[in-house]
Amino acid sequence: MLFTSYSFVLLVAATTLLYYVLPRKAQWPLLLVASGVFYWFAGPSFLIHLTVTSVTTWFAALRIGGIGGRLATALAAGKESLDKEGRKALKAKAKSAQRVWMLAALLLNFGILAVVKYANFAIVNVNAALAAFGSAEKLSFLTIALPMGISFYTFKTMAYLIDVYRGKFPAERNVFRLALFASFFPQLVQGPISRFDDLSKSLFEEHRFDRRVVLSGLQRVLWGFFKKLVVADRILPAVAAIVKNPDQYDGAFVLVGMLFYAVQLYADFTGGIDITIGISEMLGIRVAENFNAPFLARSITDYWRRWHITMGTWFRDYIFYPMSVSGPMLKLSRWGREKLGEGFGRRLTVYLTTLVTWFATGIWHGSSWNFVAWGLANGLAIIVSQECEPLYARFHRRFPWKGKPAYAAFEVVRTFLLMSCLRMFDTYRDVPLTFRMFGSMFARFDLARVFDGSLLKLGLSVADYGVLAAALVLLVASRVAKDRAGDFRSRLAERPAALRTALTFVLLLLILVFGAYGIGYDAKQFIYNQF
């Protein structure tokens, strides 16, 4: 069930109606039923995966919580009799038992993810290695379908489990509540990857109907559909034409494809997240924001603080930090200082962890080498920019431009182009082809070829370009207005109901008139659904 399908609109409408009509105690159970219905449409068998993950996570977390509770009781009972060493031994024993439960659940659930998502990728590479060594043997591929949203719900539930192990919050006792956290349908297929302590506050609260809140949520949903149907799906044919015909569209067309894909991906992903957050808002549920004007980032690290924020913080909190502060890494850090000197030796472990984290981020996006290359390229770019810090510092001492608007604009454009170049691994989905097209952008750059009428042979008419240009102006203007005067919807909420309703209808009308859909046109899958 795509977000852009009539059945999804019907599901949301029916759920919202029942949510406010039924007794408030039934609100979160209703959301669990709605999530089950949503997931049933994706494939009834996928419900088994989701159930296994929810139940095993719930059970393991409950065991971890139970051990923690018994430890607290034992420590309280032995307050007088236990010395420092005795308390330490009790804590260590409990932690070790908790770790067993955590590792068992992590292994099982990441194991499921690894098998369904990465087994065939591993088989392709094993077969290639066997062929390279002259063997005629070949492993057979597994016929397993990838359950919808598995990367997202696995990450959400495993974060919950680790947080319970870390003692951040108590384990959830009700398995159905945990199942709803895992499966909450608006965010099941493309995030945001919410944390339990953040989402559960409003997910399980009882909510009264508030027309302003519902209308405001609906406005955000429509804004999301506007981005998806008017911008992302409209520009898609041009991106596809350029990417699928690399021999025809090389040189300056690569730059055009790169820029068009940046627009498509931004509108597609942020549009999808707007729909998710908007639906949640209609139900009174607060979902973490996933973007903060990423194309205004002034450095690559700044970009990753603004784009897919919940994914970035997940990798930071559950891979980058634990690995960086682990015993082996601290030992390596000491070794590095002794052998390689204070400076680089100190940075060595940070760089190593950065590369591992970005490798994981890359392969999380998809089981293919282009995503591995994309992840590692991001990690390398971050490391290079760190190593260049002294150089930048000297430059800024010599030329004190930092903070000036023109230099800030230069930083924004530089970061946008750098991230767009890295995204080519995602666009072309083939590592050698990506390098070839990147090279051709410089070797065969000829803007005249682009403007000789070729732009109109990419599946877009003059009218399409006009609609896209106007929509982009609207997108930029909305951001500028937000920066200058605050969130538009919050300000609109203070205005008369008639104006609010009228503007909502105008937005709906814009989508209906200018959206890329209709008879014979299939609204496209969101790009992030496939991850």
Partner: protein, 75 residues
């Protein structure tokens, strides 16, 4: 505390670590700084900071960092 301030100044010489209490909230320390700091604390104070202690409340100020180091070395 002086040793801790010296470590912090090595990361960012231009920051007033003695008085600022928003090192994480204001983005003064990023994730690179934090893991470098953790390795430095392990090196200088022989105190291991586990991942669950890496939360803004423990890293927002030199005083909070100092309190965490004392607490962990007492454990």
């Amino acid at each position: 505390m002086d040793e801790l301030l010296a470590i912090l100044r090595k990361l960012h010489a231009d920051v007033d670590f003695e008085h600022r209490a928003d090192l994480i909230d204001a983005g003064v320390l990023d994730s690179f700084d934090i893991v470098t700091l953790v390795a430095e604390i392990d090196h200088v104070f022989d105190v291991r900071i586990p991942a669950e202690e890496i939360v803004p409340e423990n890293f927002n100020s030199a005083a909070a960092l100092d309190a965490m180091i004392r607490r962990l070395s007492d454990d």
